[in-house]
């Protein structure tokens, strides 16, 4: 019977497809478990309170990551202090003041999209040429932070813009009917309502910044001492992992531990960001 043979051929194909799909899913899960398992196993042994507080000694083979954490925090702080105000004002402009078809808004959006796709090593080259050499900051936390700020701008703008767009128009209309100026509406009403989305975007930006390495190699440098000022060179956790694994023989154990710390911090940040986003979406639907 032609029909049953077609049917059984289809059933066979379906079975095969199902097997392949489940196999691939299993492969991916296995890869994930393998990687995280390796990292946890290798890193747990080396973790201790001293590890978090001490500075690295002997090129990082001994000691801890205390100064590294401080440098990382400083670079992050510089990056956020520049990128946040800039990013959120651009988002406010795009969401509230620019008509969808205007050319200025289009240019801004498009440039940010291009910026989002630029590889991080290119940012490193730019940061080196502009911040370190042209502006004379040398290898410093300031230079690295400013380079990171350029990289964070697209993420902050797109998440903040989405958050503002999600505020229902009814609020804007009511505020306008009350005669409130657009600035007052933005500052007192829209930003507080969109705050969870803005916070989620901020956390995502922080996560991206902490994972960044290539952009910082030639802008904030390699020095692993505790930084004395913003113009001192300093290395982030990611660069520390890179240095330990590539340039320091016998640095595997502290590298493991550092990698574990980095992953755990990023995991926490992502979880909080996800919680904020779902909470915000929930409120959007129910309000």
């Amino acid at each position: 019977m032609p029909e049953t043979s077609v049917k059984s051929a289809h059933a066979c194909r379906d079975r095969l497809a199902e097997l392949v799909v489940y196999f691939v899913a299993f492969l991916v899960c296995a890869a994930f478990v393998w990687i995280t398992g390796d990292l946890v196993r290798g890193g747990m042994a080396h973790l201790s309170w001293d590890f978090f507080v001490d500075s690295p000694r002997n090129a990082g083979r001994a000691g801890g990551i205390g100064s590294i954490l401080v440098s990382t925090a400083l670079i992050l702080l510089v990056a956020l202090m520049v990128a946040l105000p800039l990013g959120w004002t651009v988002a406010a402009l795009l969401a509230e003041y620019m008509p969808a078809s205007g050319s200025f808004g289009y240019t801004v959006r498009h440039s940010l999209q291009v910026l989002a796709g630029v590889p991080s090593i290119i940012f490193g080259l730019f940061g080196n040429a502009f911040f370190s050499i042209y502006l004379g900051m040398g290898f410093s936390i300031l230079s690295g932070g400013l380079t990171l700020a350029c990289m964070l701008l697209p993420i902050l703008v797109s998440t903040a813009e989405a958050g503002l767009h999600a505020v229902p128009d009814a609020y804007r209309q009511s505020a306008a009917a009350l005669g409130m100026s657009r600035t007052a509406t933005l500052v007192h009403l829209l930003l507080p309502v969109a705050a969870p989305a803005l916070a989620a975007g901020l956390l995502l930006g922080i996560g991206r910044a902490m994972a960044e390495t290539a952009a910082l190699l030639f802008t904030s440098g390699y020095v692993d001492r505790m930084p004395g000022s913003l113009l001192d060179s300093g290395r982030t956790l990611a660069i520390h992992i890179f240095d330990l694994s590539m340039n320091v023989p016998g640095g595997d154990a502290p590298a493991h531990a550092s990698a574990l710390v980095l992953i755990i911090v990023l995991l926490l940040i992502n979880m909080v960001a996800m919680r904020l986003t779902t909470g915000w979406q929930h409120r959007k639907i129910t309000s």
Binding site: H10, R13, D14, E18, V20, Y22, V24, A25, L27, C29, F32, I35, D38, L39, P85, L86, G87, T89, V90, L93, F104, T107, S111, V114, L115, A116, G117, V118, P119, S120, I121, I122, G124, L125, F126, N128, A129, F130, C150, L153, S181, R182, T183, M210, A211, E212, T213, A214, F218, F242, S245, M246, D252, H256, A259, L262, I263, L266, L267, N270
Partner: protein, 292 residues
């Protein structure tokens, strides 16, 4: 009847005007950033381009800046092989992962798997490189020394871009209208038949856009390939040969490059940026013309 014109901007409080100018200033800075980056890259590349003609970047005997040789071809081929191999591997795996979440998994396991993929996406490239260095490279070394090779680069890159492809493909599949799928079911199509006949063709543009984004990411990736691919300047003749990508080249040599050498590195950086911009531009155009 005279139609008066009313536009959106108000003649109201001065503070509104001030706000608008402040916002415009900020946006101007953001827009100018791209131009600034291109400008500085071009300025730094100029010394090299002035007395090294463009063909020399591909036809010089070798890459040996100390002796004025600037052949980028081995690095370009390294980049293309690594990114191409990673795409070949990650595309089917990513799309199938997306199919798993969308059509095959139960709702709860689908969500868990999706979180897993998102976590994979969040692992920094340096950590991927580190894991490759301590686990993958010794494994490959046992197969065929040395372990740090094109194969290691391809595998790690594939791991890194798989989440991108999977998540964008999943978003594209979610956008397939429910009526199409119900229509297919009503026609008696089996699950695979519906996927192959209806879902995948409809989601095609979104999936392709995701692949182009992943390609851009693979080409621009630096740290992970730097750590596992071996960094020898040569054209790869087998999967087990160590290679060096353009990005790794820049990262390795910037530290001590001077004058023309440094400018040549900037040239490679500029080409990389233009390539990635083109790729993401095509991806965006595809997404925008999805309904054309």
């Amino acid at each position: 009847m005279i139609w008066w014109k009313h536009n959106i901007s108000f003649r109201s409080a001065q503070i509104d005007t001030l706000t608008i100018w402040l916002l415009r200033g900020g946006a101007g800075i953001a827009a100018a950033l791209v131009l600034l980056i291109l400008l500085f890259l071009a300025v730094e590349s100029w010394p090299a381009l002035r007395h090294i003609s463009p063909e020399r970047f591909l036809t010089d005997p070798s890459w040996n800046p100390g002796e004025g040789m600037y052949n980028l071809a081995p690095m370009v081929s390294g980049t293309l092989y690594a990114a191409g191999g990673a795409l070949l591997l990650a595309t089917p795996l990513g799309i199938i992962s997306a199919l798993f979440i969308a059509y095959y998994a139960s709702p709860r396991s689908g969500v868990i798997y999706q979180r897993l993929v998102e976590l994979l996406a969040g692992i920094p490239s340096v950590v991927y490189g580190f894991w490759g260095l301590i686990t993958l490279v010794p494994l490959i070394n046992q197969l065929h020394p040395p372990g740090a090779s094109l194969l290691a680069g391809i595998l790690i890159l594939a791991l890194m871009i798989l989440p991108t492809i999977a998540l964008t493909a999943h978003a594209a599949l979610l956008a397939v209208p429910g009526e199409y799928l119900r229509g297919a079911a009503a026609l008696g199509l089996s699950r695979w038949g519906m996927i192959r006949g209806v879902a995948l063709p409809t989601a095609k543009t979104g999936i392709v856009a995701g692949i182009m984004l992943a390609a851009g990411r693979a080409i621009g990736e630096t740290m992970a390939v730097l750590m596992v691919a071996g960094n020898v300047v040569q054209h790869a003749t087998s999967l087990f040969d160590p290679v060096r990508t353009l990005t790794a080249n820049i990262a390795l040599e910037m530290a001590y490059a001077m004058n023309d050498h440094r400018a040549a590195l900037f040239v490679s950086g500029l080409t990389l940026m233009l390539l990635v911009i083109t790729l993401s531009g095509v991806a965006e155009w595809l997404v925008r013309n999805r309904h054309a």
